[in-house]
């Protein structure tokens, strides 16, 4: 699926509404492209809908108002081969007036970054091959890699332009809010209101489709966290519909990953596997390793749920491999956690413990308190399985619970209290039973209040140990 159709096409409106700062930066870029009478490298940092919008703009500028005619390299993995052919066969008698590499990270990822190394090595020749602007578009998260892989080219760039969509700017604020206080309400009227508002906006035709895709995915995520699974699926499907309609492949992949994630929770797991495989297929075509890694991760979780641990492990290993050389520690940590869970289920406790500790160190390094606390819980589970009950109890009581209490993460807290209670019941030292009963009462009350499925599970634990509910 082409994100920027090459045929003459009527643009369906803007793909993203960009921030004011981004619009300003694009003005600067356009002036720079118009004024350069010799080779000039511009690096545009943009992803998702914002990237799609930038690419549309570049097509619109090409050959007009002083901006030279721009050759667009492929956005797929064959961009690397195209660039190779260009550098080899470039006619210095008729150099290019300008060029764009729409997904420059493909040059990093394909064949170990060989194409980018060649471009870097041929830096001195570029002035004869391209007599105007060369624009490399890459996500901001990959900018550091690009700089290191093509140091000399990076050094001589004429400018770096950061472009963000308004939705993306909002999402950053949302992400910060999430980190501080996770969803603790089973029903979030605000999210439902947003969904309703989004339908009105779409009907008005005022907002760029790409931004709508991103917004539906965000809303779907919020529904998912709020355990409103039907609403989450609906939001994901809305996002998919819009993304397919405008050729926004990145958004489509995110929507598919969201739907696969919900299905992995609710079942049927076969559907989750099918949707994950579709997401993976799209991300492989696009050639973006980070996205491919995420798709594999979701697929692996679905496979594991269905009892296909072996294939799940293969995908997790591949997902880790996809992330090599990419600075995405959080994603790497989550993959490790999943691997650790599989190994633990297989009884390979030493290996599981080693991997979970590696996961823990990553979360500590990047300051993700909640994820760190979750990992501590996994470690406690392994220690408990190894018979190191006191160590497990210590971790849950002293290191894990305080974090969830501080974050106000009610759901994680009640799960942690339940696990702690079970360990206490296992140890059965003086006072343990009373403490376990207290913890289970607290957990059950919260779970009931929030309407969580854990409530029934806790009740069963209480009954099986003859504890008051």
């Amino acid at each position: 699926m082409s994100e920027v159709p090459r045929a003459q096409l009527t643009r369906p409106g803007p793909l993203a509404r960009l921030t004011e700062e981004s619009e300003h930066r694009l003005d600067v870029l356009r002036r720079g492209m118009r004024r350069s009478k010799s080779f000039a490298l511009f690096v545009v940092l943009a992803s998702d809908a914002a990237r799609a919008e930038v690419l549309w703009r570049l097509r619109e500028w090409s050959g007009r108002d002083g901006v030279p005619e721009l050759l667009f390299f492929s956005w797929r993995q064959d961009a690397a081969r195209e660039l190779d052919r260009f550098l080899a066969a470039a006619n210095r008698e008729s150099p290019l007036a300008g060029a764009v590499v729409p997904y420059a990270e493909v040059l990093l990822d394909a064949e170990g970054g060989r194409a980018l190394a060649e471009l870097n090595m041929g830096r001195d020749m570029l002035g004869r091959l391209i007599t105007g602007p060369l624009v490399l578009v890459v996500p901001a998260s990959r900018a550091g890699e690009l700089a290191r892989a093509a140091e000399d080219l990076w050094d001589v760039r004429a400018g770096t332009v950061v472009v963000e969509a308004e939705a993306a700017a909002d999402a950053k604020a949302d992400a910060k809010a999430d980190a501080k206080a996770d969803v603790d309400a089973g029903v979030d009227a605000g999210v439902e209101g947003q969904a309703s508002h989004l339908r009105e906006i779409e009907a008005s035709g005022e907002v760029a489709p790409g931004a709508l895709v991103d917004a539906w995915v965000r809303i779907g995520d919020a529904f998912f966290k709020a355990t409103l699974y039907d609403e989450a699926i609906h939001a994901a499907k809305e996002a998919e519909r819009l993304a397919r309609g405008v050729g926004y492949t990145g958004g489509l992949i995110h929507a598919l990953v969201l739907r696969a994630g919900v299905l992995e929770t609710t079942g049927p797991f076969e559907e989750s596997v099918r949707v994950s495989r579709e997401a993976l297929a799209h991300s492989r075509v696009v050639g973006m390793r980070g996205v491919e890694s995420a798709s594999r991760f979701i697929l692996a979780r679905a496979l594991r749920r269905g009892g296909q641990s072996e294939e799940a492990l293969q995908h997790l290993d591949a997902a880790l491999h996809d992330l090599e050389g990419i600075d995405m520690p959080r994603e790497r940590a989550f993959i490790l956690g999943e691997i650790g869970d599989i190994l633990q289920a297989r009884g390979q406790l030493d290996d599981a413990l080693r991997i979970q500790k590696e996961q823990l160190s990553i979360f500590e390094r990047i300051g993700e308190d909640r994820a760190r606390a979750m990992t501590l819980g996994r470690i406690a589970n392994i220690l408990q399985a190894r018979g190191q009950l006191d160590d497990a109890l210590h971790i849950r009581q002293q290191e894990q619970l305080p974090v969830f209490e501080r974050l106000g993460d009610v759901r994680s807290l009640l799960v942690a209290r339940t696990n702690l209670a079970q360990d206490l019941l296992t140890r059965n030292a003086p006072g343990d039973r009373n403490e376990a009963a207290r913890l289970l009462r607290l957990a059950h009350a919260e779970a009931e209040r929030l309407g969580l499925p854990e409530a029934e599970h806790i009740r069963q634990i209480q009954q099986s140990h003859n504890l008051p509910t």
């Binding site: 190394a117 060649e118 090595m121 004869r128 700089a147």
Partner: protein
């Protein structure tokens, strides 16, 4: 894949002469300002003389003029100079200028024959070895001195080299320049194993390759206008740009293999990675080569902490004048020449950064004046690049450098290399025997630097 099939080295000016792109210089229009502040193209040694600023007094003298003088005064004894410096410090520009000075007999004496090898153009920088360099030099002799090549290289090739190479490079052309190009291309595109096979074949004939070059050099020097009393000068540029992941390969090349180049009957000027000059491995460079390391430092726009810190007026003035040669700040900028001063301060003496700041600020506007706000935004853009790239573990080292103008004693070499390579730390040396270091001014404004505990 071959980037360039041509044996001809690129016109060293790389493309159009910078000054010829603009209607006039210094620029009186924003369009011309953009064209003259090109961070990509080095100045042409002759055509861009007007744009060139004399930086001797703020870079510890004209170091390459000293090299040229040293070459002329060596009494025919081949010398070796290792040239290093930050990216963007103007090495290529100064090297080309020195080549021109030697070839034109500037400063007295006869013209000196030179061979300029641009490693970036001719070799596979991800994997370079001695054999590649020798073969490329053969190619240059064919290109630039065909008569000498015909006289001395052909017999040697036929007798010793061609057959050996022909067993490992398929379909080796019978024409020698074409065969050399094919062999170099073969080395560039093939995998590691194949490269090693070709190099092993060439290694067996390294003495012949060197002998051939020496005979060719002799013949060239005997040809007017050159003087037989003066050895030929071989300049190898961009050799220092070996990829960081190849560190072991870099040290092997410089410390083990390139010593064989001393067998050439020529003055050698080779570029070398800056970090190697300071690494423990680099201390062996002088011992091995018996030559001299020449470092092109940044323009000293600030003073050491021990000297009270703050601006170095001489360095700043030089930077400002450098910018004023390209742009009429008084006409185009709201702040006038004050903008040039602020840009010079923010650049830390890095010419390329200064040019980029001007470029970006100018492109904020369709028409003059370029406002102070635009200059600030442009500086913020360069700062944002640093912010994105700066690894937090490096910040304590940077703080030490900021405080003492030197690296911590226990600073790992790879950290030092990284900090210098990516211009987080800038090196200065102005007249003193020892260099000193400072954190780039725009790194000091980064949040990571300011907020680190």
């Amino acid at each position: 894949m071959v980037i360039s099939a041509s044996m001809s080295p690129p016109d060293p000016s790389r493309s159009l002469v910078v000054s010829s792109r603009a209607f006039e210089h210094p620029a009186k229009t924003l369009d011309d300002a953009v064209r003259l502040c090109d961070p990509f193209t080095p100045l042409h040694p002759k055509e861009d003389e007007d744009l060139r600023q004399d930086l001797q007094s703020v870079r510890g003298g004209d170091r390459l003029a000293l090299v040229a003088r040293s070459i002329r005064r060596a009494g025919g004894v081949p010398t070796l100079h290792l040239l290093s410096g930050h990216l963007g410090s103007g090495k290529t520009t100064e090297l080309l200028r020195m080549q021109r000075r030697l070839a034109s007999a500037e400063g007295g004496g006869s013209p000196v024959a030179t061979l300029f090898l641009d490693a970036d153009h001719m070799l596979d920088r991800t994997s370079v070895d001695l054999e590649d360099i020798l073969l490329a030099l053969w190619g240059l002799v064919y290109e630039q001195h065909p008569a000498a090549a015909a006289k001395v290289l052909v017999p040697l090739w036929k007798k010793q080299i061609g057959d050996s190479l022909g067993t490992v490079v398929k379909n080796l052309p019978s024409g020698i320049p074409q065969a050399i190009q094919k062999a170099l291309d073969y080395i560039r595109v093939q995998g590691i194993e194949q490269k090693q096979v070709v190099r092993a074949s060439l290694a067996s004939v390294v003495p012949a390759l060197i002998e051939g070059l020496n005979q060719a050099f002799q013949t060239i020097r005997e040809t007017p206008p050159f003087d037989t009393s003066e050895p030929l000068v071989v300049l190898i540029d961009n050799l220092e740009k070996l990829s960081e992941g190849q560190r072991a390969g870099v040290e092997r090349l410089y410390l083990d293999r390139l010593v064989a180049l001393k067998g050439l009957d020529a003055h050698l000027v080779l570029t070398v990675p800056l970090y190697l000059c300071y690494a423990a491995a680099g201390a062996g460079l002088i011992g091995l080569y018996g030559g001299k390391v020449v470092v092109l430092p940044m323009i000293e726009v600030s003073k050491r902490v021990a000297q009270g810190g703050g601006d170095n007026p001489l360095g700043l003035r030089a930077m400002v004048e450098l910018l004023q040669r390209r742009v009429r700040f008084d006409l185009l900028f709201e702040e006038g020449d004050q903008a040039a001063l602020r840009i010079a301060q923010a650049s830390g003496g890095c010419i390329r950064h200064a040019l980029r700041i001007v470029l970006d600020a100018v492109n904020e506007h369709d028409d003059p004046p370029v406002t102070a706000t635009s200059v600030n935004r442009s500086m913020a853009g360069v700062q944002a690049d640093f912010e994105r790239a700066l690894p937090e573990p490096y910040v304590p080292v940077l703080r030490h450098v900021a405080k003492t103008n030197r690296f911590p004693d226990d600073c790992k070499e790879e950290v030092k290399r990284d900090l210098l390579r990516h211009l987080f730390v800038l090196e200065y040396q102005n007249g003193d025997p020892e260099p000193w270091w400072a954190v780039h001014p725009l790194v000091q404004t980064c949040r990571k630097f300011r907020e680190h505990n």
